[in-house]
């Protein structure tokens, strides 16, 4: 993979981080997909060499700083997500589209679950409705990505 492609992939993660801090009306904000999770899943699928756990941890840490969540929360969730995605990647690429989508949803659920559960321990619990809506829009985003890009 060329350096340009690597930079582009990391820029995608950076863009996901920036988008996640764009102030939105509450109703729209509830439906905001987990941008970082989507970007990381994407990165693992299309460029597994660049999807390092350390990168995920740093991105998660930056998200913690940007959104004001407890330090380490998103870092932990992103690390778990990338680990899962990297280990499930061979299933993802060799599966039919519907199973591919389900696997991606499973990864995203794991990410959101970690954020919700660990965040809950540290008094950073979001609403279940927000979690569900994030999962739905994240799923839609993943679906669009899988439809338009060949793996």
């Amino acid at each position: 993979m060329t350096e340009g492609a690597v930079a582009r992939n990391y820029a995608l993660v950076g863009a996901a981080l920036l988008i996640s801090v764009v102030p939105l009306p509450q109703l729209v904000g509830l439906w905001q997909p987990p941008w970082l999770a989507v970007a990381l899943i994407w990165l693992v699928i299309v460029a597994p060499e660049d999807a390092r756990l350390a990168v995920a941890a740093v991105a998660g840490l930056l998200q913690d700083l940007l959104v004001g969540s407890p330090l380490g929360l998103h870092a932990l969730a992103a690390t778990v997500l990338v680990f899962l995605a990297a280990n499930m990647r061979h299933w993802v690429v060799s599966s039919p589209p519907w199973l591919r989508f389900l696997l991606a949803m499973l990864m995203m659920t794991a990410y959101l679950g970690v954020v919700a559960l660990i965040g809950g321990w540290f008094d950073y619990a979001g609403s279940w409705a927000g979690l569900a809506s994030s999962l739905m829009t994240g799923g839609v985003l993943i679906l669009i990505a899988f439809l338009f890009v060949r793996i």
Partner: protein
């Protein structure tokens, strides 16, 4: 084929490196969890967090700036659209209020007319018959109106019709529940009148013109008639009571060498669009009574077209 082979190789490689990846993951997870615990229990770590956030201030500011600009543009269009919608609503409301206002104005005018009619009724005697005109004139070349009172209600041929302004005409046909009145401006109508100021008597002929003017022919050339003189019914014909206002002299013409003047009178009553009128309760003329040739106060002369 090559793509699949490469993928499998990469995955095999990844699986071979699985334990170290798992270890790395475990380490990072522990560090992250530790960070969470430390931050939750040691407030001093907040300072470290503050430094980190300070470094991200430019990023946050840029994001806010971009999103603020975007919101500004969005707000501008939303405001435009909202203003247009509001404008449309206000226009509709204005239109409705205009219609209401017009109705109010019509009602006010009608109310004033009814009040005048009521006063006139009291003045002429309380046993008169009020009537309203019905829309439509089957023969536009003639000046006549249809009234909503007929012989059943007491209308009869030759009955004088007046409104708050003055003489309107007389009933020329009486049906069971409606009647037809010929206006004084109709070309076939004649009415005995006199000048209120001088007492000079004359005959007011309808001209059939659209401006409803009346013609007073054969006024002696030496007579004192000026523009603005009020003309009232003289009562000599027997149908119209004396003193009912007929109109105002608008124009006086005297062709040189002629022994008579011609005076044009503008009617005082609303002949253009009469609405509420009063049918004066006088006795019907005895059957067989023949009026004089120009005595417009007779029903036969008026209706004989």
């Amino acid at each position: 084929m090559n793509r699949w082979t490469a993928t499998l190789r990469a995955d095999r490689f990844r699986r071979r490196k699985g334990p170290s990846r798992a270890g790395e993951c475990l380490l990072i997870c522990l560090l992250s969890f530790g960070l969470l615990v430390v931050e939750a229990n040691f407030p001093a770590v907040q300072k470290v967090r503050g430094i980190g956030e300070l470094m991200l201030v430019p990023v946050q500011a840029t994001v806010r700036l971009v999103s603020g600009g975007f919101r500004g543009v969005q707000g501008y269009f939303r405001e435009q659209s909202s203003l247009m919608r509001e404008n449309q609503e206000l226009r509709t409301r204005l239109l409705l209020q205009d219609v209401d206002l017009q109705q109010m104005s019509a009602l006010k005018s009608e109310n004033e007319e009814l009040r005048s009619l009521h006063a006139l009724n009291a003045q002429l005697g309380s046993n008169n018959l009020t009537a309203e005109t019905l829309p439509g004139n089957p023969d536009p070349s003639r000046h006549r109106v249809t009234l909503n009172k007929g012989s059943r209600q007491g209308a009869f041929i030759g009955q004088p019709v007046v409104d708050s302004g003055g003489v309107v005409g007389q009933v020329t046909r009486d049906y069971l529940v409606t009647s037809e009145a010929l206006l004084i401006s109709d070309a076939n109508h004649a009415l005995n009148v006199m000048f209120e100021r001088t007492g000079l008597q004359a005959i007011a002929l309808g001209t059939g013109r659209r401006d409803h003017r009346l013609l007073l022919p054969f006024v002696p050339a030496h007579a004192d008639v000026i523009q603005g003189d009020t003309v009232v019914s003289s009562g000599t014909g027997g149908l119209f009571p004396a003193g009912l206002r007929v109109g105002v002299v608008e124009d006086v013409r005297n062709s040189s060498g002629e022994a008579f003047l011609e005076a044009f009178v503008s009617p005082s009553a609303n002949l253009e669009n009469p609405r509420q009128v009063l049918l004066l309760r006088s006795e019907p003329p005895p059957p067989g009574a023949e009026p004089g040739p120009v005595n417009g106060d007779s029903p036969a002369a008026a209706a004989g077209s």
